[in-house]
């Protein structure tokens, strides 16, 4: 086998079409998943069992099964149910992109809820007692003390999750979506040159991961500028 480096350059413009799909999926799923996690973590840390247990079950299911399986259940499994296929949600579940977004969002929600919970539990108890002593309510304490500190504590784990999700978007190619990986597989099938093409795809993912990593590092530096 010969290595044709010119193929890398030739395949880049087409991979860019896929990049747009990958980015859209990543940003939409990450945003919605994170918003979901903010709601979920409030329920998760509640001392009322009927609030925290359903969230624990949700987290258990989505962390305990492969994303690929979740995606297949949503994409191929749900349409088997008559009420989904004839119901008002079908226009959404008919779309492969929606299914991929839905699976990723639920997945991000589950992981990020646990990341946020870790951050909240990591906040120094002394600070909470001090807030109480100052006469702040539970809600005030959460907004002004717990949340900002927890956010800072979570950032490293959260940036890990972002990169995991970026890579998980490649699974969308298994349900007919032409994201970076989907386009790469199509080009490989035409050129029979897996090394060159998948290498190009890998470089695109590396660049995206680099941007995320450094973006989070800048953010971290900014929010901890008064520390130490």
């Amino acid at each position: 086998m010969t290595f044709e480096s010119s193929l890398i350059l030739e395949s880049l413009p087409r991979l860019m079409d896929g990049l747009w799909v990958t980015l859209r999926l990543f940003v939409l799923a990450l945003t919605c998943g994170t918003v979901l996690a903010v709601g979920m973590v409030l329920l998760r840390i509640s001392s009322r069992k009927y609030l925290s247990w359903p969230v624990m079950a949700y987290i258990y299911v989505f962390r305990g099964t492969p994303i690929l399986v979740q995606l297949f259940v949503i994409y191929y499994g749900l349409p088997q149910l008559e009420f989904i296929r004839t119901g008002p949600l079908w226009p959404f579940f008919r779309e492969p992109f929606f299914c991929a977004w839905f699976a990723l969002t639920l997945n991000i929600g589950a992981y990020t809820t646990e990341i946020f919970r870790g951050g909240i539990l990591g906040v120094n108890k002394g600070l909470l007692e001090a807030s109480k002593a100052l006469g702040m309510t539970y809600a005030q304490t959460f907004r002004k003390v717990t949340a900002p500190i927890a956010f800072k504590l979570c950032l490293p784990a959260y940036s890990n999750e972002m990169i995991s999700v970026l890579k998980a978007t490649a699974l969308a190619s298994t349900v007919t979506i032409f994201d970076v990986t989907g386009v790469a597989r199509k080009i490989v099938a035409e050129t029979f040159a897996p090394y060159e093409i998948f290498l190009s795809a890998a470089i695109i993912y590396l660049i995206l991961a680099w941007i995320i990593q450094n973006g989070v590092r800048l953010l971290e530096r900014r929010i901890s500028r008064y520390a130490n």
Binding site: M1, T176, A189, F192
Partner: protein
Amino acid sequence: MNRIFGMALAAGMGLAALVAPAAQAETIRVGTTCTYFPFNFKDSDGNLSGYDVDVAKEVVKRIGAEVEFVCQAWDGLIPAILSEKFDLIVASMSITPDRMKKLDFSVPYRISEGRLIGRVDAEHKLFNEDGTPIVEAFDGLRLGLPRSSVYDRWTDAFLPEAEILGYDSPDSMYLDLQNGRVDLIFTNPMKAHLSFLSADGIEGFEFVSPAINDPEYFGTGAGIALRKGNEDLQARLDAALTEMREDGTLDEFSLRYFPFAIYPES
């Protein structure tokens, strides 16, 4: 210390005996997908079976070698044979000009054509009398097809604006057609007839195109692929296949799965 060394040595020799070739006969490794009923698939007992498999076994037997099958997903078949993971591809692969740039092929052992399937009640009128597609008729229709296939390349050429969904397996494609996620699928009519249109509980679907077999895209049929530079092996394959066509073996194999012969006349 010595004992441990001795034991390790003995274990190593045992392993070497396991991996060393047992028989003297030439072994030919055949790559196929193992998931493409009724051409190459695992039957309910887990045995590899189907028209491609029958042809591969018989051809390899006739050239006096042992056959060993390797299962490999469709889109990895050509990269895998090029990196010598196996020696032949017998997987219903059409002999197309594109593939012939990288590989050599035997004479065809099966015809290659595609047809579109859609809902009966949609009353599709997608093709002219002369068999060419009416491009505007495809507006707003979603077309499912096997990723990186002859169907894919034909569609790119004749219906570049069509909305395409690429599938890894025909079964998920049939499922999405039933679910209404795609309006049309473009597929192998022999297989679709057997595993979809005539299957239990499938109603309301029909072929909505003539047989499409433009040789530029569908080639001269499906053949056995091998790496370039093996003229000797190629000649032996060709001789065996020609013999099998003439002595009725291909007929017999066709009729095991289909009510009609599926190899080219000449």
